[in-house]
């Protein structure tokens, strides 16, 4: 039952094959079994069970609220949740309990979804590994998959098996791991430079970054307001579309959401791609790209071509400036957004009280990790009066050029761009932490970040397993507010590639009950 997609399980709930409470308990039990993945910071068991109970009542009366009623979901721990701790994986917000729900959370709850818990991330979503949060790194479920383990057995044995677990990517690694390990059917991430798509790619799930302005940011604790978008992580493209349908639309609490009414996101099953034009940006073929990813990328392009689509090479000439430009804009907004964490109104406060300034300084030193503090420092440097023109203004201009690159390509008749999501498959934690956060983020976001600069929709879809047995995802980028078209293409692709299901029998024990569609299977309960 847990192996099903959101839509499948929704049908099962409707048909009474399983009750919301049973489903909730199965997920809770799996969350416990996979606790070592560190995917969740807070498990909201009581809340979820109560919501399940209410959902069950509705199903009994035949008044279900829709496709999400009774569906276990998880939410990245940088979305505000009423009465549930929202930490941003930071000492600064440890123990902070928001008094309100983020709009996207409220929308999920209004549809009857069950909130299983809050997922782990890099502190304040600053990172691309989900390794830099105060609650420790998230482990990629694929580290424990049958597919990966079998490949590893063929290689010389490592000294210490336990230290060789893989990162999830980030910063929404907790959400990606939660979906990948079957502990929920959909999860919210956030995406500022690739934070949803990157871990989706490395964890073998679908990761959607909707068009900026389509989904409300109210209640999402910001990283870069002008680039942040709530992301959606699911096990298939259709599920992402279903969740997007619930989340999208104007929010009077977020002035940057579009006023126009939102159309449906139900995806047609594309049978003919011959009218499609797929663009392959040549600048995305970088030396650091692993040969395996590169060959899958070509394979995907050929797949479209062989089915009649027009596949052309396109140019996004300002791509190489994206990383440095992002660095300036991101850190500047971070410096501004983080100014509110002063220990006065909420969150951590130090014991020093000799002066207000000393209190601020110590509170912020204790509350933020090096990465956050480093970005605040750089951002404030870029915003200084004497630097503003040379850094911030220039970066804004470059941002416009990068956005225009996409406009030009789409104006030339391209419907969707096809690119890699990441440079390679997931790497072991011990490898990953050899580089500093900034370098890692720059590498991790290389294919994803320009999309945020331009506000476009993009989705990472898992394509195949690498030689090591690890997932590799590819990214589709669409026109602004053409999220449905983008997902329709992604859905066609997903169907063609038939990405294998993760086999987690080793860590979640006898999985016969987990994956079978057996009506009464509740044996996963502890």
């Amino acid at each position: 039952m847990l192996g099903r997609t959101l839509r499948e399980v929704s049908v099962a709930l409707k048909q009474g094959q399983i009750t919301p409470t049973e489903l909730c308990q199965k997920c809770l039990s799996l969350i416990k079994k996979t606790k070592f993945l560190n995917a969740y910071i807070t498990v909201s068991e009581e809340v979820a069970l109560k919501q399940a109970e209410e959902s069950e009542e509705r199903y009994k009366k035949g008044h279900s609220l829709g496709e999400l009623d009774g569906i276990p979901v998880a939410v990245k721990d940088n979305f505000s949740t009423t009465g549930i701790k929202t930490t941003c994986a930071s000492n600064m917000l440890k123990g902070y309990v928001p008094p309100y729900n983020a709009t996207v959370v409220q929308k999920l709850l209004d549809q009857g979804a069950l909130l299983m818990g809050k997922t782990n991330l890099d502190e304040f979503a600053m990172g691309s590994g989900s390794t830099d949060g105060v609650f420790g790194p998230v482990k990629n479920p694929w580290s424990y998959s049958k597919q990966y383990r079998e490949k590893r057995k063929q290689k010389p044995h490592d000294e210490n098996e336990d230290t060789n677990w893989l990162i999830t990517g980030g910063s929404s690694g907790g959400s990606a791991a939660a979906v990948s390990a079957f502990t929920c059917f959909a999860a919210l991430g956030s995406d500022t430079g690739g934070s949803t798509r990157n871990p989706a790619g490395l964890c073998g799930v679908v990761g959607l970054k909707p068009t900026y302005g389509l989904v409300s940011r109210y209640g999402l604790i910001p990283l870069v307001n002008s680039m942040d978008v709530p992301g959606i992580l699911t096990r298939c493209v259709d599920d992402a579309a279903t969740v997007l349908g619930v989340l999208a639309g104007h929010d009077c609490k977020d002035s940057t959401t579009v006023q126009d009414p939102v159309k449906s996101f139900i995806l047609p099953s594309l049978t003919d791609v011959s009218k499609l034009c797929i663009g392959i940006p040549k600048e995305y073929l970088v030396p650091e790209l692993s040969s395996e990813v590169q060959s899958l990328w070509s394979k995907a392009a050929k797949l479209f071509e062989s089915e009649g689509a027009k596949v052309i090479e396109v140019s996004l000439p300002h791509t190489s400036y994206s990383i440095v430009c992002y660095h300036v804009l991101c850190t500047s907004e971070v410096a501004s957004n983080m100014a509110r964490f002063d220990g006065l109104e909420y969150g951590h406060r130090c014991d020093i009280n000799v002066s207000t300034e000393a209190m601020y300084a110590a509170t912020r030193r204790e509350g933020f990790n090096d990465v956050v503090r480093g970005r605040i420092l750089s951002g404030n440097f870029f915003l200084l009066k004497e630097n503003y023109e040379n850094y911030f203004i220039k970066a804004q201009k470059v941002r416009r050029l990068i956005a225009n690159d996409f406009v030009n390509v789409f104006n030339s008749g391209v419907d969707v761009l096809l690119t890699p999501t990441t440079l390679s498959e997931a790497v072991p934690y011990v490898e990953f932490i050899k580089e500093d956060n900034r370098t890692r983020s720059a590498q991790g976001d290389i294919f994803t970040q320009a999309v945020n600069m331009a506000g476009l929709p993009a989705v990472s879809v898992p394509m195949a397993l690498s030689n090591q047995g690890l997932p590799i995802g590819l990214q589709f980028i669409g026109r602004a507010f053409c999220d449905q078209q983008l997902l329709t293409v992604a859905k066609w692709f997903e169907k063609q590639v038939q990405f294998p299901v993760i086999q987690l029998q080793e860590i979640i024990g006898d999985c016969s009950s987990v994956f079978e569609n057996d009506l009464a299977s509740v044996s996963v309960k502890q």
Binding site: P99, A339, R340, L344, M359, L383
Partner: protein, 557 residues
């Protein structure tokens, strides 16, 4: 969305910051985008000499003072600039605080339409160019009552620019010579107010009240076109009247709805402008004028004694009547402005550019607001002069006192007395009594109707002017009685019995032969003595002109 969100911290700790220092605050309402004084344009008005501050000493150059103002007016609106919290003066601390006002992470600003309309109306009334596109920016500085660590303001592109404010100062011995002046308005910008810090010296702690945090402000920047405290105070008073007429701000200085910072420098006419100082937080018109004049004098003396003026921020000590430097700690403050990413550009329309089929709730039409502008004080004054033949200075006084114009107009409605008489009674007698007892018009014990009735009695010659004054005093003292009642109780009506009066005159002359002799000898002043004696005999109930006529007739007969 009020206080109940305080649940995440224990009550005892709410907003309390123990043992913090009380250093000066930086940047409260500081000018945006203002550089050094040298950047300011030189104005012709600035050349004007200031009588009090610029008396040239022997062999010295003359000095000219240059004064610019930054005025923060709290917008009169039901809710705050970017949140739904209500706006009330003197509400219980932290009772009007939304999640946004407390800067809870993840909250976003939503612009209040009313505040935008208030800014546009104020801009129009001050002859500004209204920018159809304006932008919001964040201005950063750390302060305990600035929860987000930044203030949302309009640094790059404010909502209104390039306006002017006309005002009049009165000069001459009797201050009845009108000089019309104009000060240019650089810009009007929308911005957030901060909270309030309440310092508890006994327990050496600071308490924060966020009720005011996020209230909409209009920052009106007046160019340095003024040259003394009185000019500045008069310009501010005129602005205050305009804001009140528009209803865009209550503009009550005592309640902090109007706060003024002054930029002051002195120089020799024809030479570059001097280094300026900024005097902050001037909370009454009187202190504003005093502070500016003091500061001008101080700068002149400083320069004449070979000193130099520092580009510093000073505050006015109203007890000592002088300005003192605010301890500037770290020196230069960099506000690290950044565009506010959560607010799209603010777009305004006029009837020509209004998009077809636009939702009226979502757009603001400048032309429509222009049509709705109420009568401005300058027009009201002109009408008074035209309609009642009033002296211009009287029309100013009528408008300058809160409620006085309305009082005057209500008296006019109910009396047959001449407008000049009414004006004189309202401005001299009535206002005199108010001033003496330090009362507002609304606190007056005498109603407009009572004064109107009193003036009718006077107009009909039922009472004398002197008696009228007595009746007024009585009205003031014992509210509730009508003038007619007082007149009859105190027997103040004029003697209507001519024969009796004739007899009194006769009797008085007989009793004072010496005075009559003086008069006959050619001392014309002696008749006044007789008039006085007769009036006394009538208990002041006779018209002295009538008495005089009778006496003269009797003497010559």
């Amino acid at each position: 969305m009020a206080a109940p969100m305080l649940r995440w911290c224990c009550p005892a700790r709410r907003w309390i910051l123990a043992n913090i220092d009380r250093g000066p605050r930086h940047g409260r309402g500081a000018p945006t985008g203002s550089g050094s004084s040298g950047k300011r344009g030189q104005s012709s008005v600035a050349q004007q000499l200031l009588a009090t501050a610029q008396k040239p000493r022997k062999g010295e150059h003359q000095w000219a003072a240059v004064v610019g103002l930054e005025i923060h007016a709290q917008i009169s609106s039901n809710s705050k600039l970017f949140s739904g919290s209500q706006v009330h003066f003197a509400a219980p601390p932290n009772s009007l605080v939304s999640f946004f006002d407390a800067s809870l992470p993840g909250t976003l600003p939503v612009l209040n339409r009313r505040c935008v309309e208030a800014a546009v109306m104020t801009g129009l009334a001050l002859n500004c160019h209204i920018n159809k596109k304006s932008l919001f920016d964040r201005k950063h500085y750390f302060y305990a009552d600035l929860p987000a660590g930044y203030q949302i303001t309009q640094q790059r592109l404010p909502i209104a620019v390039k306006g002017s404010l006309a005002y009049s100062v009165f000069v001459g011995k009797n201050r009845n010579q009108v000089i019309n002046k104009t000060v240019r308005i650089k810009q009007i910008q929308l911005e957030q107010d901060s909270g309030k810090s309440l310092h508890d010296d006994l327990r050496s702690q600071t308490l924060i009240d966020l009720n005011r945090a996020g209230v909409g402000l209009l920052e009106v920047v007046l160019e340095p076109d003024m040259s003394c405290g009185e000019e500045a105070a008069t310009a501010v008073r005129e602005l205050q009247l305009i804001l009140q007429a528009l209803g865009t701000s209550q503009a009550n200085m005592a309640e902090g709805q109007l706060r003024v910072d002054a930029n002051i420098s002195v120089h020799h006419p024809g030479e570059p402008l001097g280094v300026r100082t900024e005097v902050k937080n001037l909370n009454s018109a009187r202190f504003l004028a005093k502070a500016i004049d003091y500061e001008i004098q101080r700068q002149i003396e400083e320069l004449e004694n070979g000193g130099e003026i520092l580009n510093e921020t000073r505050s006015f000590d109203c007890k000592l009547g002088c300005t003192v430097p605010m301890r500037d700690k770290e020196g230069k403050q960099d506000y690290r402005f950044i565009p506010e990413p959560n607010l799209p550009p603010l777009l305004l329309y006029d009837s020509a550019s209004l998009p077809a089929g636009a939702d009226p709730q979502q757009v603001i039409n400048i032309d429509q607001l222009r049509e709705q502008l109420p009568e401005l004080p300058s027009v009201t004054r002109e009408k008074l002069v035209q309609q009642y033949g009033m002296l211009p200075e009287h029309s100013f006084t009528l408008l300058n006192e809160v409620g006085l114009l309305e009082f005057f107009q209500n008296v006019m409605k109910e009396t047959r007395a001449e407008p000049k008489k009414v004006t004189s009674w309202v401005l001299n007698t009535f206002l005199g009594f108010l001033k003496q007892q330090n009362l507002a018009v609304s606190e007056s014990p005498v109603t407009p109707s009572a004064l109107a009735e009193l003036l009718n009695l006077l107009d009909q010659k039922i009472i004398s002017s002197a008696a009228a004054k007595k009746v007024f005093e009585e009205l003031w003292r014992s509210g509730g009685k009508t003038p007619a009642q007082i007149v009859s109780e105190k027997r103040l009506e004029l003697m209507q019995d001519q024969e009796a009066l004739e007899e009194l005159c006769q009797a008085t002359m007989e009793k004072h032969p010496q005075v009559v002799m003086d008069l006959k000898k050619g001392n014309p002043r002696a008749i006044n003595k007789l008039i006085g004696l007769v009036r006394k005999a009538t208990l002041n109930r006779a018209d002295p002109t009538v008495i005089k006529e009778m006496l003269e007739r009797q003497l010559s007969s």
